[in-house]
């Protein structure tokens, strides 16, 4: 699925958080969004994942504007996107039930009610829990196949974030939108997630990833987008953005120079 933002802006109470951003992302491509805190990365991702409607401009998927459609039709687009947040935000249930939630919400109500009744009955007779192949496959990708029957609350932070990635993946999305998914993780968990992201690209998923980790952006991106104060400064392959940026502000950001003066204003 191809994503396209065309002159997309988003504002709250006359304040522009994102201003006139245009970019495209193709299937099988990883685009990393970098920029200082408050640059509008999360807002850009929320627009791409159809959490918010742009206040100006258009967000298109395969040439269609989901916001021009009815809520039900838009849901079909939403269900082709998997979102992972900075916090794992797992539900208070087993790992398997966290991962298969996307599949469950897609089932018709009659089937869901039957499933609920069966689950209540299983609990009474204390029958052993079961898991489906798709859930195991998604957990396998993040190296947590064996953890499927564990309680989500018993996972470490890194494991929880990997489960959260598996949850986004198990529903079979075409596009993955990842908001700083490794910012709280140790190097080992980060490496596992990065490998899973690259494998997702191998399956032709598009990936839009916000990160504060410049090395990560350099390692896994096909293209990098630099965002500053809601404005898209430049987009390009990582070699160019990091080694030969066209904009002076990009150069200063990737070199770790302060972009702001002592009054907090853009210098």
């Amino acid at each position: 699925m191809n994503l396209e933002l065309e002159h997309a802006s988003y504002g709250v109470d006359d304040t522009d958080i994102l201003d006139d951003v245009s970019l495209t992302l193709s299937s099988g491509e990883i685009m990393t969004v970098i920029g200082p805190s408050g640059a509008g990365k999360t807002t850009l991702l929320r627009l791409a994942a159809l959490f918010e409607r742009p206040t100006d401009g258009v967000v298109r998927f395969d040439g269609m504007d989901p916001w021009s459609l009815s809520r039900d039709d838009r849901l079909e687009f939403r269900r082709r996107i998997g979102m992972v947040f900075q916090q794992a935000s797992l539900f208070e249930t087993s790992v398997a039930r966290n991962v298969d939630i996307g599949q469950r919400v897609r089932r018709p109500w009659s089937q869901r009610i039957r499933g609920f009744i069966r689950r209540v009955a299983d609990r009474w007779i204390r029958s052993a829990p079961t898991v489906d192949d798709r859930t195991l496959e998604a957990l396998d990708l993040v190296g947590l196949r064996e953890a499927w029957d564990r309680d989500a609350g018993s996972l470490s932070g890194g494991e929880a974030q990997r489960v959260s990635f598996a949850r986004a993946l198990a529903a079979g999305p075409d596009l993955l939108v990842l908001d700083e998914p490794t910012s709280d993780l140790d190097p080992r968990n980060t490496a596992i997630l990065e490998r899973a992201i690259e494998r997702a690209r191998g399956r032709d998923h598009g990936v839009l990833l916000a990160t504060h980790d410049m090395h990560q952006a350099e390692r896994i991106s096909d293209r990098v987008a630099f965002l500053l104060e809601g404005e898209l400064i430049e987009v390009g392959p990582p070699e160019r953005i990091f080694d030969d940026p066209r904009d002076e502000r990009t150069a200063r950001f990737v070199n770790g120079d302060l972009l702001y003066d002592e009054n907090g204003l853009l210098a």
Binding site: F85, F91, V105
Partner: protein, 223 residues
């Protein structure tokens, strides 16, 4: 003679039966009324939400005798519901307990729903959930708080005296069988008669009942 009332074979059984029937029915009705309100107030954003929340929270501490008085006025012959002829019946007690428990259940459930992290709602939306799915997942995350609200409501209903005394009248038939006598109103009566031992036994029975109901509900809730 101590324990005179308890010697009547039907006395204890019938007051337990009336207490439980009235309070459990009141809680069932109250829950059916309260959860949708907690749900709507917890999910919707509208003007006056804070005022409604403040009213619900105030209702939690509403004096039961005042509720009893208002219900009695509504149900009395000259009141708007006078035609139903419910004064001094278990149904009147159910109404007053329902009114007393509703703000407790609504308030605690609302607070539990609102305290579910926005990130969880985002996660539910992000996996392709509809608004109904997001609401159901949030409710599930808030389930322990919701159950606590229902138990607190039950505690308030079964242990209250003022309103059931006013609208129920603490009536027992000549053979000692209760019509509108509950454990709490029986305790009041026995204490007034100086039958402290009987009142104490009834108090212990009430405690055990509350404990049992809590145990059953928590067991069903998986905790």
């Amino acid at each position: 003679m101590p324990f005179e009332s308890l010697a009547e074979p039907n006395y204890l059984r019938s007051i337990i039966q009336v207490s439980l029937t009235v309070s459990l029915t009141a809680i069932l009705l109250s829950t059916l009324l309260s959860l949708p309100i907690a749900f709507v107030v917890g999910f919707a954003d509208f003007r006056g939400k804070r005022v409604i929340t403040a009213v619900i929270n105030t209702g939690m501490g509403f004096p039961s005798v005042v509720v009893g008085l208002l219900v009695l006025m509504a149900l009395s012959n000259s009141g708007p519901l006078g035609a139903l002829e419910l004064v001094y019946t278990p149904e009147a007690m159910i109404i007053s307990q329902c009114v007393l428990a509703a703000p407790v259940i609504t308030g605690v459930a609302l607070s539990a729903i609102e305290s579910v992290d926005d990130a969880v709602r985002d996660a539910a939306y992000g996996v392709g959930g509809t608004r109904t799915d997001v609401a159901l997942i949030t409710l599930k995350e808030a389930r322990y708080g919701v159950v606590t609200g229902i138990l607190a409501g039950f505690g308030r209903a079964i242990s209250e005296v003022g309103s059931v005394l006013i609208v129920g009248g603490n009536i027992a038939y000549a053979d000692g069988t209760s019509k509108t006598r509950t454990i709490t109103t029986a305790i009041t009566l026995e204490t007034r008669r100086g039958e402290f031992e009987t009142a104490l036994v009834l108090g212990a029975v009430l405690l055990v009942l509350v404990l049992l109901v809590n145990g059953i509900v928590l067991r069903l809730g998986g905790r």
